[in-house]
């Protein structure tokens, strides 16, 4: 139905304004459902969170007394919050770099042209189909002190078993290992996509020039993959700040608050201790943390990353 058309210039300003108005109405009709939901379930609650963070609230979460910055000052002085901040920072440090290295390695391995490679890709991406709840239950079993796999391996090597989830020294590390496994599928899929988008002629020239595999990796693959790597890093960082499920199922923030990461701490303050003011202050801090990461992505990402 190709057809040569020219939109007749109406000339009439009145008509044009009417058309603009009708376009605006139509556009709004298409956008309104999303806009209303964003308004009710994202923008309003964000403003409300900031508002609540400045109040003392009753057990129903209704603001009672305006206290200004007091919730924030109390937070920074409380050992519990300091532990929570420390746990969050360590959790990010344990899970993000290791997770990306693992996913990148798997993606490079799975990017080979080999018979049956599809099967391996499926295996590597499998955790993307696993829910946090199901994965946590499985890892709970693996960490079980008497029948779990890890202690059985240690026993076979004549090493005394470890209380993986009950020992403050190991709990956060254990949860991190489980988390890295849970997040690999998603990071792997994106990185594999990034690898497949690399211009094959680059490798062709490298092959003709006869350079080594490690040279190809350092000078072609990693630089060309850097935008994808950068994206995956940002998403992983933001995800790490938002961790909840595995903490709730594996450790409940314990032992001795060693795994009480920020979202779990918000949940506990709001829905168990009924201290909504403090929970809201922590939610504001979480928002700021995620905002900083996102802004950094835009700022650094534009400059440092090598685009084709």
């Amino acid at each position: 139905m190709r057809q040569e058309t020219t939109i007749g210039s109406t000339g009439d300003r009145h008509l044009e304004r009417k058309r603009a108005w009708s376009n605006w109405m139509t556009g709004m009709m298409f956008l309104l459902p999303s806009l209303i939901l964003f308004g009710v379930f994202l923008f309003y609650p964000m403003v409300r969170t900031v508002y609540l963070s400045l109040f003392l609230t009753d057990s129903q979460g209704i603001p009672v007394v305006f206290v200004g910055w007091e919730n924030f000052i109390n937070l920074f002085q409380s050992t519990s919050f300091q532990l929570s901040a420390k746990a969050t920072a360590l959790f990010v440090l344990y899970t993000v770099p290791a997770g990306i290295v693992l996913a990148t390695g798997l993606a490079i391995l799975a990017n080979q042209k080999l018979r049956g490679i599809g099967l391996f890709r499926t295996m590597f991406s499998a955790t993307m189909g696993m829910s946090v709840a199901a994965s946590s239950v499985i890892w709970m079993f693996l960490f079980n002190p008497s029948i779990g796999l890890f202690n059985r391996i240690l026993a076979a090597l004549n090493i005394p078993g470890v209380q993986w989830l009950l020992d403050p020294q190991y709990a956060l590390l254990s949860v991190s290992v489980a988390t890295i496994w849970m997040n690999t599928g998603f990071a792997f899929l994106i990185l594999l996509g990034g690898l497949q988008n690399i211009d094959q002629s680059l490798y062709e020239s490298a092959r003709i020039a006869g350079v080594s595999e490690s040279y190809k990796l350092r000078k072609i693959t990693l630089p060309m993959l850097s935008p994808t790597l950068f994206f995956v890093t940002t998403v992983s960082l933001i995800n790490a700040f938002q961790t909840f499920g595995q903490i709730d199922l594996l450790t409940k923030g314990g032992p001795m608050e060693s795994t009480n990461v920020i979202v779990y701490s918000i949940y506990k303050d709001a829905f168990i201790n009924y201290n909504v003011g403090s929970a809201s202050a922590q939610a504001v801090l979480l928002f700021v943390a995620v905002l900083v990461v996102t802004v950094l992505q835009f700022k650094i990402g534009e400059r440092k990353v090598h685009y084709q």
Binding site: T26, T49, L114, M128, W139, G194
Partner: protein
């Protein structure tokens, strides 16, 4: 060739390490109590007893049904709202469009967890606790999906739209008759992604459901794990298998498509 053998070995070892926890859960779900305690890796016989127990001891069928309804509702809701919004961003020119587009982008910077307390209060005051409405409606709008579809819609020639306008075809008909069929693949990708994410939701269902009739299967798992059956790992793993089977099948069927869609969304 030596290199090929080495590659296959590396692939096999890492593949087995990655799927081991899933495979192990499957195997345990067929074991009898004693075998699990002894630490066997392979069940003596593949008995379905644990599955019957799982369905007997917790209302697993109800939970599975709830999860299915919630996931399908969220999926459909997101597809409808995202495609409507994407259509407006591509085909309808109006004042303030840019501005609204930035508003959409900004939603990606708000971590959902930072808004959960007021959201809980809202849903509570609407009387939506323990209801499908409370479990689904807050998730219908999605910026990521809108962008993905916007990218796809942009590939449709503008002339086609203009011609249809001149021919007097309504915008809505152009949308359903031309745009949606063209974007079928991306829509499928988004559908898989939406369903996976919705099925695997944990924190929100935990907050807004507190009775058996409305719980989703993920919260059912938490319940199984914290109850006294926790020591009966075979039954718990049978529950795990029932929870992961739908999403694993969906992932395996749509893996390639999902990967392409996510890459497209990531690199814009």
């Amino acid at each position: 060739m030596g290199k090929k053998v080495l590659l296959y070995m590396a692939l096999t070892v890492s593949g087995l390490v990655m799927v081991f926890p899933i495979l192990y859960a499957f195997l345990i779900s067929f074991m009898q109590g004693g075998e699990v305690l002894q630490g066997s890796l392979w069940p003596e016989s593949f008995s379905l007893a644990n599955y019957f127990s799982a369905f007997e001891r917790v209302p697993l069928l109800t939970y599975l049904w709830n999860s299915l309804v919630v996931s399908v509702l969220i999926m459909v809701g997101q597809l409808v709202l995202c495609s409507l919004a994407a259509f407006a961003f591509v085909f309808i020119e109006f004042k303030g469009r840019e501005w609204i587009f930035y508003l959409f982008i900004s939603t990606m910077m708000i971590p959902w967890e930072a808004t959960m307390v007021p959201n809980f209060q809202t849903v509570q005051s609407l009387g939506w606790l323990n209801s499908y409405a409370g479990l689904t409606i807050p998730f219908f709008a999605m910026a990521f999906g809108t962008f993905l579809l916007r990218q796809q819609f942009k590939t449709i020639p503008k002339e086609l739209y203009e011609a249809s306008q001149i021919a007097g075809i309504s915008k809505l008909r152009f949308f359903t008759g031309v745009v949606l069929p063209v974007a079928k693949t991306t829509i499928t990708t988004l559908a898989i992604y939406s369903f996976l994410t919705a099925w695997n939701m944990y924190l929100w269902p935990l907050l807004v459901t507190n009775n058996e009739a409305n719980r989703t299967v993920q919260i059912g798992l938490k319940q199984m794990q914290t109850q006294e059956i926790a020591s009966d790992w075979g039954v718990v793993m049978a529950g795990v298998v029932m929870v992961i089977l739908p999403t694993l099948i969906l992932l395996f069927a749509g893996q390639k498509r999902l990967q392409e869609g996510l890459t497209q969304g990531a690199l814009k």
